[in-house]
């Protein structure tokens, strides 16, 4: 009896060149992406870490004394984050509630959704130009933290609306039916049932917005300006010009004077971004539960 010919049969592993090449390419590209990130991070840590000390974090830069510090830009960043969130969150959440709870499918909703997409796609430099003309010149706010915050409020609006909308969609329909069926009015239902159930989604949207604001620079140079003074008066400070961390770093690095200090700021920013990523992940896990 002749043995059955099994070359090329089921049990023989053929070498498949296509598979091998493609698989190598896939691994190579994934590896390359990670490698780029890791080497960037390592380099920033190595050059930035020696810069960071108490004096760096707690003083203002002084050309007289020749010292460099980032306290004013930390404070400015906090101001801009706070004001922007204060403006953008209510409007964004309101818009999400309108789209999810009130609006009936139709032309208006399509237009609103298209404009949200558009806002998300507009580059920050355009926001900067618009903010400089509209808030800076026409509303006469000039170079000021409030000008920057108003500009960024429009910029983060799509983030707030979309994230909140997703959270609202996760609230079971039966909650709404139950509330309305038991005689609650629409606003009462939204206030007592929908919003509390969507709260972690709203918090996520705030954190994502903070990430965007902290990393922003192009929209801020023409609106919030580049001053790095400590606030003289906490209440009127938003009316004055102020650089955020990214803006201070950009100007310090681009005039060639403060490269190492720039890496110090970069490290601070990376730590903030990392914290934000971890926080959003924890929150979205909570949301899924």
């Amino acid at each position: 009896m002749a043995k059955p010919d099994v070359t090329g049969g089921l049990y023989v592993k053929r070498t498949r060149t296509f598979d091998r090449i493609v698989k190598t390419a896939v691994y190579f590209c994934a590896g390359l992406t990670v490698l780029i990130l890791v080497s960037m991070l390592l380099y920033i840590v190595i050059r930035g870490a020696p810069q960071i000390n108490w004096k760096f974090l707690s003083t203002a830069p002084s050309s007289l004394k020749g010292t460099y510090g980032i306290l004013p830009s930390i404070i400015n960043t906090l101001y801009i984050v706070f004001i922007t969130i204060l403006i953008a969150t209510p409007i964004g959440v309101g818009a999400a509630i309108y789209l999810n709870e009130y609006a009936k499918k139709g032309k208006l909703v399509r237009i609103i959704e298209f404009t949200i997409e558009t806002l998300a796609g507009i580059p920050s430099i355009i926001y900067g130009l618009f903010g400089a003309i509209f808030f800076g010149e026409i509303m006469k706010l000039g170079y000021a933290i409030i000008t920057g915050a108003l500009t960024l409020s429009i910029m983060v609006l799509p983030i707030v609306i979309r994230t909140t909308q997703e959270a609202l969609k996760m609230v079971p329909q039966s909650y709404r039916e139950g509330a309305l069926g038991s005689g609650a009015t629409k606003w009462y239902m939204i206030r007592t049932i929908i919003l509390p159930s969507a709260v972690s989604g709203i918090v996520t949207s705030v954190i994502l917005s903070i990430g965007r604001i902290v990393g922003e620079s192009a929209a801020l140079i023409f609106t919030a300006g580049a001053a790095d003074n400590l606030p003289k008066n906490w209440l009127t400070h938003p009316g004055t010009s102020g650089a955020t961390l990214t803006v201070q770093m950009y100007f310090g690095v681009s005039n060639g004077k403060y490269i190492d200090e720039g890496f110090g700021i970069a490290l601070v920013l990376i730590v903030i971004v990392l914290l934000i990523n971890i926080l959003t992940k924890q929150l979205s896990k909570k949301l899924e539960k």
Binding site: C29, L37, M40, Y43, I126, I161, I221, Y250, V253, N277
Partner: protein, 325 residues
């Protein structure tokens, strides 16, 4: 918490009780209802208002200079000398740089991003996935000035060495010290990675399992299945991711500001160049009069580019939606 209680009480609540509470204050209640619904509509319209406002003000601020300079002279002039005694405002090279730079960045970035997306969606083991995924997320969150800084300190010196080696003895080449189109393109390519990876990965994951199972059952290998079944099926999502990447690359300013050299020039790899975005940033602080208006005109051109990209995106998304729906 309150929500659950509310639902539970729904069943036990007596009809009479809730009937009376509603009737008791029906006037104020309906007034609040009306006010709130108006507020929510207003919030919903903010986005529309913002886009309208931005469009109007970009046109209002951007068109006077185009009118004064002449649209053909502005778009197709090759000399940009806004502060010269005989000022000239031609942005052809700037427009070309933005187009060529974006195109090259997409050409380099998209294949890497797509294969990374394939890795994440299909190849990675759960343990490695947990390491690569956060890396992509971090890459997306890094501020653009940091990309610029790292590019300027690490990439530009490498480019300088390459430049010196390639153009050794050349008399026509203007040496740039490494801040050139190629540096900008590489930085942009890295910056669009997370956008393309995220959107492509989710569209690959959205392909119905049956397609994959059928392909494997017919004897195709895993890789054949991925590239001949999954990728074509996820086509509209992948195209979307590429268009989003193009949008990000066209609009990026601060990162390439620090690595592109900022000279208005033909977009050749080793030339210092100026993009639409960096053109605005470079001169905004000291410009006045017609020069400043011309910068807003550059902004308007950039805005038109972005609007075209947005509309293309919308059309793709609608088509994809129709197919899936």
């Amino acid at each position: 918490m309150q929500g659950n209680e509310m639902v539970k009480t729904t069943q036990s609540a007596t009809a009479t009780k809730s009937f009376f509470t509603i009737m008791g204050s029906s006037k104020t209640k309906s007034a609040i209802e009306k006010v709130m619904s108006v507020i929510f509509v207003a919030c919903g319209l903010t986005a529309v208002l913002a886009v309208l406002g931005i469009t109007v003000y970009m046109i209002v601020a951007g068109s006077p200079a185009i009118g004064k300079i002449g649209i053909l002279e502005f778009l197709f002039g090759t000399r940009w000398a806004p502060t010269a005694a005989d000022p000239s405002f031609g942005i052809l090279y700037i427009i070309l740089t933005s187009i060529v730079g974006t195109f090259l960045a997409v050409l380099i970035g998209v294949p890497i991003a797509l294969l990374t997306a394939v890795y994440l969606a299909e190849v990675a083991s759960p343990r490695l996935y947990k390491m690569v995924r956060p890396a992509i997320e971090l890459l997306a969150g890094i501020p653009s000035v940091i990309y610029g800084l790292v590019g300027a300190i690490l990439l530009v010196p490498l480019m300088r060495m390459a430049e010196v080696a390639i153009f050794k003895g050349s008399e026509t080449h203007q040496f740039t010290g490494g801040a050139n189109l190629l540096s900008a393109v590489l930085v942009l390519a890295v910056m669009i990675l997370p956008t393309v990876v995220n959107v492509s990965e989710s569209s690959l994951r959205a392909v119905p399992k049956e397609l994959k199972e059928a392909s494997l059952a017919l004897g195709a290998t895993h890789m054949e299945t991925i590239f001949k079944v999954l990728v074509p099926a996820a086509k509209s999502g992948i195209v979307t991711s590429i268009v989003l990447g193009i949008g990000r690359a066209v609009g990026e300013a601060m990162a390439i500001m620090m690595v592109s050299g900022n000279v208005v020039n033909l977009p050749l790899p080793f030339n210092s160049v100026r993009f639409l975005t960096t053109g605005i940033v470079t001169e905004m602080s000291y410009s006045g009069g017609l020069h400043r208006q011309a910068l807003f005109s550059i902004g308007l051109i950039l805005f038109l580019f972005i609007m075209v990209i947005n509309i293309v995106l919308n059309v793709i998304l609608k088509k994809g939606g129709e197919k899936n729906g």
